[in-house]
Amino acid sequence: VRRGLGVLVLTGVAAVAAAPAGAVRKPQRKVVTVNDNYYLPAKLTVNKGSTIVWRWPDDAGDVHDVKLGRHPKGAKGFWSEPGAAGYSFTRKLTVPGRYAIVCTLHEEMTMTITVRS
Protein backbone atom coordinates (compact mmCIF):
# COMPACT_ATOMS: atom_id res chain seq x y z
CA VAL A 1 0.00 0.00 0.00
CA ARG A 2 2.80 2.38 0.98
CA ARG A 3 4.53 1.78 -2.34
CA GLY A 4 1.32 2.33 -4.19
CA LEU A 5 0.82 5.65 -2.44
CA GLY A 6 4.31 6.67 -3.42
CA VAL A 7 3.54 5.97 -7.04
CA LEU A 8 0.31 7.93 -6.72
CA VAL A 9 2.10 10.92 -5.17
CA LEU A 10 4.79 10.84 -7.80
CA THR A 11 2.15 10.68 -10.44
CA GLY A 12 0.44 13.68 -8.93
CA VAL A 13 3.65 15.65 -8.80
CA ALA A 14 4.29 14.80 -12.40
CA ALA A 15 0.79 15.92 -13.26
CA VAL A 16 1.33 19.31 -11.61
CA ALA A 17 4.69 19.70 -13.28
CA ALA A 18 3.13 18.89 -16.58
CA ALA A 19 0.27 21.36 -16.19
CA PRO A 20 -0.01 23.59 -19.24
CA ALA A 21 1.39 27.09 -18.98
CA GLY A 22 -1.23 29.57 -17.81
CA ALA A 23 -3.21 26.99 -15.88
CA VAL A 24 -4.94 28.55 -12.86
CA ARG A 25 -3.69 27.38 -9.48
CA LYS A 26 -6.34 27.25 -6.83
CA PRO A 27 -6.08 29.64 -3.86
CA GLN A 28 -5.10 27.94 -0.64
CA ARG A 29 -5.74 28.49 3.02
CA LYS A 30 -2.61 28.35 5.18
CA VAL A 31 -2.24 28.66 8.93
CA VAL A 32 0.80 30.29 10.51
CA THR A 33 1.19 29.87 14.26
CA VAL A 34 2.43 32.85 16.24
CA ASN A 35 4.81 31.64 18.90
CA ASP A 36 7.38 33.10 21.35
CA ASN A 37 9.30 34.49 19.33
CA TYR A 38 8.83 32.94 15.92
CA TYR A 39 6.28 32.35 13.24
CA LEU A 40 5.80 28.80 12.06
CA PRO A 41 6.35 28.23 9.23
CA ALA A 42 8.81 31.04 8.72
CA LYS A 43 8.74 30.58 4.94
CA LEU A 44 5.65 29.95 2.93
CA THR A 45 4.86 29.73 -0.77
CA VAL A 46 1.22 29.95 -1.81
CA ASN A 47 -0.87 30.48 -4.87
CA LYS A 48 -2.29 33.85 -5.80
CA GLY A 49 -5.46 34.65 -3.90
CA SER A 50 -4.57 32.43 -0.96
CA THR A 51 -5.74 33.21 2.53
CA ILE A 52 -3.24 33.30 5.37
CA VAL A 53 -4.42 32.85 8.93
CA TRP A 54 -2.03 33.82 11.71
CA ARG A 55 -3.10 32.00 14.83
CA TRP A 56 -1.95 32.76 18.37
CA PRO A 57 -1.88 29.90 20.91
CA ASP A 58 -4.97 29.18 22.92
CA ASP A 59 -3.33 29.13 26.33
CA ALA A 60 -0.73 31.83 27.00
CA GLY A 61 2.10 33.62 25.28
CA ASP A 62 3.96 36.87 24.97
CA VAL A 63 2.45 39.72 22.99
CA HIS A 64 3.09 39.63 19.24
CA ASP A 65 1.73 41.28 16.16
CA VAL A 66 1.86 40.78 12.41
CA LYS A 67 3.01 43.71 10.29
CA LEU A 68 3.68 43.69 6.58
CA GLY A 69 7.07 45.05 5.63
CA ARG A 70 8.36 45.03 2.08
CA HIS A 71 5.71 43.80 -0.30
CA PRO A 72 4.85 43.67 -3.98
CA LYS A 73 3.67 46.86 -5.64
CA GLY A 74 -0.07 47.04 -5.52
CA ALA A 75 -0.45 44.93 -2.38
CA LYS A 76 -2.15 46.63 0.52
CA GLY A 77 -0.27 46.92 3.83
CA PHE A 78 -1.59 45.33 6.99
CA TRP A 79 -0.84 45.34 10.70
CA SER A 80 -2.66 43.18 13.22
CA GLU A 81 -3.63 44.08 16.72
CA PRO A 82 -1.04 42.89 19.23
CA GLY A 83 -2.30 39.65 20.71
CA ALA A 84 -1.10 37.08 23.19
CA ALA A 85 -3.50 34.16 23.11
CA GLY A 86 -6.74 32.99 21.58
CA TYR A 87 -6.49 35.37 18.67
CA SER A 88 -6.24 35.13 14.91
CA PHE A 89 -5.61 37.50 12.03
CA THR A 90 -6.48 36.76 8.44
CA ARG A 91 -5.38 38.30 5.17
CA LYS A 92 -5.93 37.33 1.54
CA LEU A 93 -2.90 37.84 -0.66
CA THR A 94 -3.91 38.66 -4.19
CA VAL A 95 -0.76 40.22 -5.64
CA PRO A 96 2.06 37.85 -6.65
CA GLY A 97 5.48 38.48 -5.15
CA ARG A 98 7.35 38.33 -1.88
CA TYR A 99 5.84 39.53 1.39
CA ALA A 100 8.05 40.24 4.42
CA ILE A 101 6.32 39.95 7.78
CA VAL A 102 7.64 41.15 11.14
CA CYS A 103 6.51 41.33 14.75
CA THR A 104 7.09 44.96 15.68
CA LEU A 105 7.55 44.00 19.34
CA HIS A 106 10.30 41.46 18.64
CA GLU A 107 12.43 42.50 15.72
CA GLU A 108 13.99 39.08 15.23
CA MET A 109 10.59 37.54 14.68
CA THR A 110 10.13 37.54 10.91
CA MET A 111 8.74 35.45 8.09
CA THR A 112 8.35 35.62 4.33
CA ILE A 113 5.55 34.58 2.07
CA THR A 114 5.96 34.10 -1.65
CA VAL A 115 2.79 34.37 -3.68
CA ARG A 116 2.96 32.60 -7.03
CA SER A 117 1.28 34.14 -10.03
Binding site: D36, R70, Y87, E107
Partner: protein, 446 residues
Protein backbone atom coordinates in the same frame (compact mmCIF):
# COMPACT_ATOMS: atom_id res chain seq x y z
CA UNK B 1 27.00 24.39 43.66
CA UNK B 2 29.76 26.21 41.92
CA UNK B 3 30.00 26.21 38.16
CA UNK B 4 33.08 26.92 36.16
CA UNK B 5 32.71 29.77 33.72
CA UNK B 6 33.05 27.43 30.76
CA UNK B 7 30.50 25.03 32.15
CA UNK B 8 28.18 27.89 32.91
CA UNK B 9 28.56 29.31 29.44
CA UNK B 10 27.73 25.93 28.01
CA UNK B 11 24.68 25.61 30.20
CA UNK B 12 23.47 29.06 29.43
CA UNK B 13 24.10 28.67 25.73
CA UNK B 14 22.18 25.44 25.67
CA UNK B 15 19.34 26.94 27.63
CA UNK B 16 19.31 29.95 25.39
CA UNK B 17 18.87 27.83 22.30
CA UNK B 18 16.10 25.89 23.98
CA UNK B 19 14.33 29.05 25.00
CA UNK B 20 14.47 30.50 21.53
CA UNK B 21 12.93 27.44 19.97
CA UNK B 22 12.83 27.54 16.18
CA UNK B 23 15.01 30.35 14.99
CA UNK B 24 13.54 32.72 12.49
CA UNK B 25 15.50 33.01 9.27
CA UNK B 26 17.71 36.01 8.86
CA UNK B 27 16.07 38.32 6.40
CA UNK B 28 17.39 41.33 4.61
CA UNK B 29 17.20 44.28 6.97
CA UNK B 30 15.47 46.34 4.34
CA UNK B 31 12.59 43.90 4.20
CA UNK B 32 11.34 44.90 7.59
CA UNK B 33 10.37 48.34 8.82
CA UNK B 34 12.55 49.77 11.59
CA UNK B 35 10.81 50.67 14.84
CA UNK B 36 8.57 53.64 14.49
CA UNK B 37 10.13 56.83 15.77
CA UNK B 38 7.95 57.87 18.70
CA UNK B 39 6.90 61.48 18.56
CA UNK B 40 5.88 62.37 15.06
CA UNK B 41 6.09 65.72 13.36
CA UNK B 42 2.54 66.60 14.37
CA UNK B 43 2.41 69.34 16.99
CA UNK B 44 -0.05 70.17 19.70
CA UNK B 45 -3.56 70.53 18.27
CA UNK B 46 -5.06 74.03 18.33
CA UNK B 47 -8.66 73.16 19.00
CA UNK B 48 -11.42 73.99 19.59
CA UNK B 49 -11.70 70.82 21.62
CA UNK B 50 -14.83 68.84 22.35
CA UNK B 51 -15.84 66.58 25.16
CA UNK B 52 -17.44 63.33 24.05
CA UNK B 53 -19.58 61.42 26.48
CA UNK B 54 -20.18 57.71 26.62
CA UNK B 55 -23.80 57.01 27.48
CA UNK B 56 -24.90 56.15 30.95
CA UNK B 57 -27.60 53.55 31.38
CA UNK B 58 -30.90 54.46 29.67
CA UNK B 59 -29.34 57.60 28.27
CA UNK B 60 -29.77 57.75 24.53
CA UNK B 61 -29.09 61.15 23.07
CA UNK B 62 -25.95 63.19 22.70
CA UNK B 63 -23.71 60.40 23.79
CA UNK B 64 -21.93 57.36 22.40
CA UNK B 65 -22.97 53.79 23.09
CA UNK B 66 -19.43 52.51 23.34
CA UNK B 67 -16.07 53.90 24.36
CA UNK B 68 -14.70 52.99 20.96
CA UNK B 69 -17.42 54.95 19.18
CA UNK B 70 -16.59 58.01 21.27
CA UNK B 71 -12.87 57.59 20.59
CA UNK B 72 -13.51 57.17 16.88
CA UNK B 73 -15.46 60.41 16.82
CA UNK B 74 -12.90 62.31 18.86
CA UNK B 75 -10.33 64.54 17.24
CA UNK B 76 -6.87 65.39 18.50
CA UNK B 77 -7.03 67.04 21.91
CA UNK B 78 -10.62 66.03 22.64
CA UNK B 79 -11.77 64.45 25.88
CA UNK B 80 -13.83 61.28 26.22
CA UNK B 81 -15.73 60.89 29.49
CA UNK B 82 -16.70 57.38 30.51
CA UNK B 83 -19.24 56.94 33.32
CA UNK B 84 -19.18 54.18 35.91
CA UNK B 85 -20.09 50.81 34.46
CA UNK B 86 -18.71 47.70 32.80
CA UNK B 87 -17.55 47.85 29.21
CA UNK B 88 -16.91 44.70 27.23
CA UNK B 89 -14.59 46.35 24.79
CA UNK B 90 -11.05 46.44 23.51
CA UNK B 91 -10.44 50.15 22.98
CA UNK B 92 -8.05 51.19 20.24
CA UNK B 93 -6.55 54.70 19.93
CA UNK B 94 -4.43 54.94 16.81
CA UNK B 95 -2.51 57.53 14.89
CA UNK B 96 -1.64 61.19 15.06
CA UNK B 97 -5.28 62.19 14.65
CA UNK B 98 -5.85 61.00 18.22
CA UNK B 99 -2.87 62.79 19.77
CA UNK B 100 -3.50 64.59 23.05
CA UNK B 101 -6.71 62.62 23.53
CA UNK B 102 -7.90 62.27 27.12
CA UNK B 103 -9.80 59.14 28.06
CA UNK B 104 -11.24 59.66 31.53
CA UNK B 105 -13.08 57.22 33.76
CA UNK B 106 -13.40 57.44 37.53
CA UNK B 107 -10.12 58.75 38.86
CA UNK B 108 -11.16 58.40 42.51
CA UNK B 109 -12.42 54.84 42.20
CA UNK B 110 -11.11 53.24 39.00
CA UNK B 111 -12.78 49.93 39.87
CA UNK B 112 -16.14 51.51 39.06
CA UNK B 113 -15.24 51.81 35.38
CA UNK B 114 -14.40 48.29 34.36
CA UNK B 115 -13.00 47.27 31.01
CA UNK B 116 -13.91 43.62 30.84
CA UNK B 117 -11.88 41.37 28.57
CA UNK B 118 -13.93 38.27 29.40
CA UNK B 119 -10.81 36.18 28.68
CA UNK B 120 -11.28 36.65 24.96
CA UNK B 121 -10.36 40.25 24.10
CA UNK B 122 -6.68 41.10 23.73
CA UNK B 123 -6.05 44.61 25.10
CA UNK B 124 -8.15 46.78 27.37
CA UNK B 125 -6.80 50.01 25.89
CA UNK B 126 -4.29 49.87 23.02
CA UNK B 127 -2.64 53.10 21.89
CA UNK B 128 -0.44 53.10 18.82
CA UNK B 129 1.24 56.16 17.34
CA UNK B 130 -0.82 58.71 19.25
CA UNK B 131 1.37 61.09 21.26
CA UNK B 132 0.48 62.66 24.59
CA UNK B 133 -2.58 60.53 25.23
CA UNK B 134 -3.95 60.46 28.76
CA UNK B 135 -5.82 57.49 30.21
CA UNK B 136 -7.14 57.85 33.75
CA UNK B 137 -9.55 56.08 36.03
CA UNK B 138 -10.12 52.56 34.66
CA UNK B 139 -9.81 48.98 35.75
CA UNK B 140 -8.96 46.47 33.03
CA UNK B 141 -9.41 42.81 33.84
CA UNK B 142 -9.34 39.46 32.12
CA UNK B 143 -7.70 40.51 28.86
CA UNK B 144 -5.69 37.90 26.97
CA UNK B 145 -2.79 40.26 26.28
CA UNK B 146 -2.50 43.55 28.17
CA UNK B 147 -4.59 45.78 30.36
CA UNK B 148 -3.22 49.11 29.10
CA UNK B 149 -0.73 49.14 26.24
CA UNK B 150 0.94 52.05 24.46
CA UNK B 151 3.51 51.82 21.69
CA UNK B 152 5.27 54.09 19.23
CA UNK B 153 4.32 57.23 21.12
CA UNK B 154 5.70 59.93 23.35
CA UNK B 155 4.44 61.78 26.39
CA UNK B 156 1.73 59.41 27.58
CA UNK B 157 -0.01 59.67 30.95
CA UNK B 158 -1.37 56.53 32.61
CA UNK B 159 -2.92 57.38 35.95
CA UNK B 160 -5.39 55.85 38.38
CA UNK B 161 -5.38 52.55 36.54
CA UNK B 162 -5.88 49.03 37.80
CA UNK B 163 -4.86 46.05 35.67
CA UNK B 164 -5.58 42.59 36.89
CA UNK B 165 -5.53 39.07 35.59
CA UNK B 166 -4.30 39.80 32.09
CA UNK B 167 -2.57 37.33 29.82
CA UNK B 168 0.73 39.17 29.72
CA UNK B 169 1.34 42.68 31.03
CA UNK B 170 -0.86 44.84 33.21
CA UNK B 171 0.40 48.26 32.14
CA UNK B 172 2.80 48.19 29.19
CA UNK B 173 4.76 50.85 27.32
CA UNK B 174 6.88 49.73 24.37
CA UNK B 175 9.05 51.88 22.12
CA UNK B 176 7.90 55.02 23.86
CA UNK B 177 9.54 58.22 25.03
CA UNK B 178 8.80 60.22 28.11
CA UNK B 179 5.64 58.88 29.73
CA UNK B 180 4.29 58.54 33.22
CA UNK B 181 2.59 55.74 35.08
CA UNK B 182 1.25 57.03 38.36
CA UNK B 183 -1.14 56.10 41.16
CA UNK B 184 -1.92 52.70 39.68
CA UNK B 185 -2.00 49.02 40.61
CA UNK B 186 -1.43 45.70 38.86
CA UNK B 187 -1.94 42.16 40.06
CA UNK B 188 -2.26 38.57 38.84
CA UNK B 189 -0.64 39.19 35.48
CA UNK B 190 1.20 36.26 33.98
CA UNK B 191 4.24 38.31 33.09
CA UNK B 192 4.81 41.66 34.75
CA UNK B 193 2.43 44.04 36.43
CA UNK B 194 4.22 47.00 34.87
CA UNK B 195 6.54 46.91 31.89
CA UNK B 196 8.49 49.52 29.99
CA UNK B 197 10.44 48.04 27.10
CA UNK B 198 12.63 49.04 24.17
CA UNK B 199 13.13 52.69 24.97
CA UNK B 200 14.90 54.34 22.03
CA UNK B 201 18.28 55.90 22.93
CA UNK B 202 18.04 59.68 22.88
CA UNK B 203 20.62 62.44 22.58
CA UNK B 204 18.51 64.63 24.87
CA UNK B 205 16.83 62.03 27.05
CA UNK B 206 13.28 62.53 28.21
CA UNK B 207 12.75 60.63 31.42
CA UNK B 208 9.72 58.49 32.19
CA UNK B 209 8.23 58.34 35.67
CA UNK B 210 6.68 55.42 37.52
CA UNK B 211 5.40 56.68 40.84
CA UNK B 212 3.07 55.47 43.53
CA UNK B 213 2.20 52.18 41.93
CA UNK B 214 1.45 48.91 43.64
CA UNK B 215 2.34 45.64 41.98
CA UNK B 216 1.67 42.23 43.50
CA UNK B 217 0.89 38.60 42.72
CA UNK B 218 2.47 38.82 39.26
CA UNK B 219 5.33 36.79 37.84
CA UNK B 220 7.34 40.03 37.90
CA UNK B 221 6.33 43.21 39.67
CA UNK B 222 8.12 45.38 37.14
CA UNK B 223 10.01 44.34 34.02
CA UNK B 224 12.14 46.63 31.90
CA UNK B 225 13.64 44.96 28.85
CA UNK B 226 16.12 47.39 27.29
CA UNK B 227 14.43 50.18 29.24
CA UNK B 228 16.15 53.53 29.74
CA UNK B 229 15.67 56.91 31.38
CA UNK B 230 13.02 55.57 33.77
CA UNK B 231 12.60 56.50 37.42
CA UNK B 232 10.64 54.11 39.63
CA UNK B 233 9.79 55.61 42.98
CA UNK B 234 7.44 55.70 45.97
CA UNK B 235 5.93 52.39 45.00
CA UNK B 236 5.21 48.97 46.46
CA UNK B 237 6.44 45.74 44.90
CA UNK B 238 5.49 42.71 46.93
CA UNK B 239 4.30 39.12 46.64
CA UNK B 240 5.55 38.76 43.06
CA UNK B 241 7.92 36.05 41.88
CA UNK B 242 10.49 38.84 41.58
CA UNK B 243 9.99 42.51 42.38
CA UNK B 244 11.79 44.73 39.85
CA UNK B 245 13.86 43.37 36.96
CA UNK B 246 15.48 45.69 34.41
CA UNK B 247 16.88 43.28 31.83
CA UNK B 248 18.81 43.05 28.58
CA UNK B 249 17.38 40.73 25.94
CA UNK B 250 17.96 40.23 22.23
CA UNK B 251 14.26 39.92 21.56
CA UNK B 252 13.87 43.70 21.66
CA UNK B 253 16.03 46.47 20.23
CA UNK B 254 18.37 48.83 22.01
CA UNK B 255 19.96 46.64 24.69
CA UNK B 256 20.93 47.12 27.44
CA UNK B 257 18.73 48.89 29.98
CA UNK B 258 20.46 52.04 31.14
CA UNK B 259 20.17 55.33 32.98
CA UNK B 260 17.39 54.07 35.21
CA UNK B 261 16.76 55.08 38.82
CA UNK B 262 15.02 52.86 41.36
CA UNK B 263 14.58 54.88 44.51
CA UNK B 264 12.48 55.17 47.62
CA UNK B 265 10.38 52.04 47.09
CA UNK B 266 9.20 49.30 49.43
CA UNK B 267 10.29 46.00 47.90
CA UNK B 268 9.33 43.02 50.00
CA UNK B 269 8.08 39.45 50.17
CA UNK B 270 8.65 38.70 46.49
CA UNK B 271 8.56 34.97 47.12
CA UNK B 272 5.55 33.97 45.03
CA UNK B 273 6.45 30.54 43.68
CA UNK B 274 3.99 30.59 40.80
CA UNK B 275 5.48 27.36 39.46
CA UNK B 276 3.44 25.54 42.08
CA UNK B 277 0.20 27.20 41.09
CA UNK B 278 -1.02 30.62 40.09
CA UNK B 279 -4.22 32.49 39.34
CA UNK B 280 -3.06 32.72 35.72
CA UNK B 281 -1.83 30.36 33.01
CA UNK B 282 1.95 30.10 32.94
CA UNK B 283 3.67 30.86 29.68
CA UNK B 284 6.16 28.44 28.20
CA UNK B 285 8.97 30.91 28.83
CA UNK B 286 8.19 31.04 32.52
CA UNK B 287 8.47 27.31 32.86
CA UNK B 288 11.57 26.81 30.74
CA UNK B 289 14.90 25.49 31.92
CA UNK B 290 16.28 28.94 32.65
CA UNK B 291 13.79 30.26 35.15
CA UNK B 292 13.49 33.57 36.87
CA UNK B 293 15.03 33.17 40.33
CA UNK B 294 11.89 33.37 42.40
CA UNK B 295 12.35 35.00 45.79
CA UNK B 296 14.25 38.07 44.56
CA UNK B 297 13.53 41.72 45.31
CA UNK B 298 15.45 43.70 42.68
CA UNK B 299 17.64 42.12 40.01
CA UNK B 300 19.60 43.95 37.32
CA UNK B 301 20.06 41.45 34.50
CA UNK B 302 22.53 43.52 32.52
CA UNK B 303 22.40 47.28 33.05
CA UNK B 304 24.37 50.46 32.69
CA UNK B 305 24.35 53.55 34.83
CA UNK B 306 21.42 52.44 36.94
CA UNK B 307 21.05 53.72 40.46
CA UNK B 308 19.30 51.64 43.08
CA UNK B 309 19.16 53.87 46.09
CA UNK B 310 17.20 54.47 49.25
CA UNK B 311 14.86 51.50 48.90
CA UNK B 312 13.58 49.32 51.73
CA UNK B 313 14.21 45.72 50.72
CA UNK B 314 13.14 42.93 53.06
CA UNK B 315 11.67 39.49 53.50
CA UNK B 316 13.09 37.74 50.40
CA UNK B 317 13.92 34.07 50.55
CA UNK B 318 16.55 34.20 47.83
CA UNK B 319 18.14 37.64 47.28
CA UNK B 320 17.13 41.16 48.23
CA UNK B 321 19.14 43.07 45.61
CA UNK B 322 21.42 41.68 42.95
CA UNK B 323 23.06 42.37 39.63
CA UNK B 324 24.47 39.96 37.09
CA UNK B 325 25.62 40.29 33.50
CA UNK B 326 23.10 39.43 30.79
CA UNK B 327 24.45 35.95 30.18
CA UNK B 328 22.00 35.04 27.44
CA UNK B 329 22.50 38.22 25.41
CA UNK B 330 24.05 37.68 22.00
CA UNK B 331 25.04 41.32 21.72
CA UNK B 332 28.41 41.10 23.46
CA UNK B 333 28.96 44.82 23.96
CA UNK B 334 25.72 45.19 25.93
CA UNK B 335 26.09 42.20 28.20
CA UNK B 336 28.27 43.59 30.97
CA UNK B 337 27.33 45.66 33.99
CA UNK B 338 28.70 49.19 33.79
CA UNK B 339 28.36 52.13 36.13
CA UNK B 340 25.61 50.79 38.36
CA UNK B 341 25.28 51.92 41.97
CA UNK B 342 23.63 50.31 44.98
CA UNK B 343 23.56 52.94 47.70
CA UNK B 344 21.68 53.89 50.85
CA UNK B 345 19.27 50.97 50.72
CA UNK B 346 17.90 49.40 53.89
CA UNK B 347 17.88 45.61 54.21
CA UNK B 348 16.03 43.27 56.52
CA UNK B 349 13.87 45.86 58.26
CA UNK B 350 10.15 45.74 57.64
CA UNK B 351 9.26 49.37 56.95
CA UNK B 352 5.57 48.50 56.67
CA UNK B 353 5.26 47.85 60.40
CA UNK B 354 5.12 50.65 62.92
CA UNK B 355 7.93 49.03 64.87
CA UNK B 356 10.17 48.48 61.85
CA UNK B 357 10.43 44.83 62.79
CA UNK B 358 13.18 42.57 61.60
CA UNK B 359 12.29 40.82 58.33
CA UNK B 360 15.50 39.53 56.86
CA UNK B 361 16.41 38.59 53.35
CA UNK B 362 18.25 35.34 52.78
CA UNK B 363 21.00 37.10 50.82
CA UNK B 364 20.89 40.89 51.07
CA UNK B 365 23.14 41.80 48.14
CA UNK B 366 24.55 39.60 45.38
CA UNK B 367 27.06 40.77 42.78
CA UNK B 368 29.64 38.69 40.94
CA UNK B 369 31.95 41.58 40.10
CA UNK B 370 31.28 41.59 36.37
CA UNK B 371 31.96 44.74 34.37
CA UNK B 372 33.30 48.08 35.39
CA UNK B 373 32.50 51.22 37.36
CA UNK B 374 29.93 49.42 39.51
CA UNK B 375 29.83 50.30 43.18
CA UNK B 376 28.03 49.43 46.39
CA UNK B 377 28.10 51.48 49.57
CA UNK B 378 26.13 53.17 52.29
CA UNK B 379 23.57 50.38 52.61
CA UNK B 380 22.28 49.42 56.03
CA UNK B 381 21.31 46.09 57.55
CA UNK B 382 23.46 44.05 55.16
CA UNK B 383 24.26 40.73 56.83
CA UNK B 384 24.64 38.07 54.16
CA UNK B 385 26.09 38.64 50.70
CA UNK B 386 27.34 36.91 47.57
CA UNK B 387 30.24 36.67 47.69
CA UNK B 388 30.37 36.26 51.44
CA UNK B 389 33.57 38.28 51.72
CA UNK B 390 32.21 41.11 49.57
CA UNK B 391 35.39 40.99 47.52
CA UNK B 392 33.46 42.18 44.45
CA UNK B 393 31.91 45.17 46.21
CA UNK B 394 33.67 48.44 45.44
CA UNK B 395 32.74 51.52 47.43
CA UNK B 396 31.18 54.45 45.60
CA UNK B 397 32.34 56.29 43.64
CA UNK B 398 34.37 53.80 41.70
CA UNK B 399 35.87 53.68 38.25
CA UNK B 400 37.74 50.87 36.60
CA UNK B 401 37.27 47.16 36.21
CA UNK B 402 35.44 45.42 39.02
CA UNK B 403 36.85 42.35 40.74
CA UNK B 404 35.09 39.41 39.12
CA UNK B 405 34.40 36.27 41.14
CA UNK B 406 33.66 33.13 39.21
CA UNK B 407 32.42 31.44 42.32
CA UNK B 408 29.97 34.27 43.00
CA UNK B 409 28.61 33.97 39.47
CA UNK B 410 28.10 30.26 40.03
CA UNK B 411 26.23 30.92 43.24
CA UNK B 412 24.00 33.48 41.55
CA UNK B 413 23.12 31.38 38.52
CA UNK B 414 22.45 28.16 40.41
CA UNK B 415 18.88 29.02 41.51
CA UNK B 416 17.95 29.88 37.92
CA UNK B 417 18.80 26.42 36.66
CA UNK B 418 17.58 24.41 39.65
CA UNK B 419 14.52 22.24 39.09
CA UNK B 420 13.27 23.01 42.57
CA UNK B 421 12.69 26.75 42.59
CA UNK B 422 12.89 26.83 46.35
CA UNK B 423 16.11 24.81 46.58
CA UNK B 424 18.17 27.84 47.53
CA UNK B 425 15.60 29.55 49.71
CA UNK B 426 16.39 30.37 53.31
CA UNK B 427 13.61 31.83 55.44
CA UNK B 428 15.61 33.84 57.93
CA UNK B 429 12.52 35.54 59.36
CA UNK B 430 9.55 33.21 59.43
CA UNK B 431 6.82 34.10 59.64
CA UNK B 432 7.12 37.64 58.39
CA UNK B 433 5.97 40.32 60.82
CA UNK B 434 2.28 41.05 60.52
CA UNK B 435 1.43 44.00 58.28
CA UNK B 436 -2.14 45.24 58.34
CA UNK B 437 -3.80 44.73 54.98
CA UNK B 438 -1.02 42.59 53.55
CA UNK B 439 -0.82 38.82 53.46
CA UNK B 440 2.36 37.09 52.30
CA UNK B 441 1.91 35.05 49.11
CA UNK B 442 4.23 32.12 48.61
CA UNK B 443 1.98 29.37 47.32
CA UNK B 444 -1.27 30.11 45.58
CA UNK B 445 -4.43 28.33 46.59
CA UNK B 446 -7.59 29.00 44.57
Amino acid sequence: MSLTRIALATVVAALGVAALGVAAPAGAATDYPPPTNPGGAKGKPKGPFKTRYVCEKKQGHGCFRTIQAAVDAAKAGDTVIVPDGTYKEAVRISGAKKRYLKLLGNTETPARVVLQGSNKRQNGVFINGADHVTVKGFEAKNYRANGFFITNATGYTFRNLVATHTGTYGVYAFNTIGGSIIDSAASENNDSGFYIGQTPPQTKPVRSMVRNVSSYANVLGFSGTNMRYVTITKSLFFNNGLGIVPNALDSEKYAPPEHNVITNNEVFWNNFNYFLGAPFTLREGATGDLAYPVGTGILLYGSRDTKVTNNRIFGHYLVGLGMVEALTLKQDDAMDLVGNQFTENSFGVNSMTTGNDTDRNNIDIAYDGNGSDNCISGNTGVQVTIPADQSTFAACPFSGANAFSQDALGQMIAPAVAEDHEAYWVKRTAPHPTVDGFEPLEHYTP
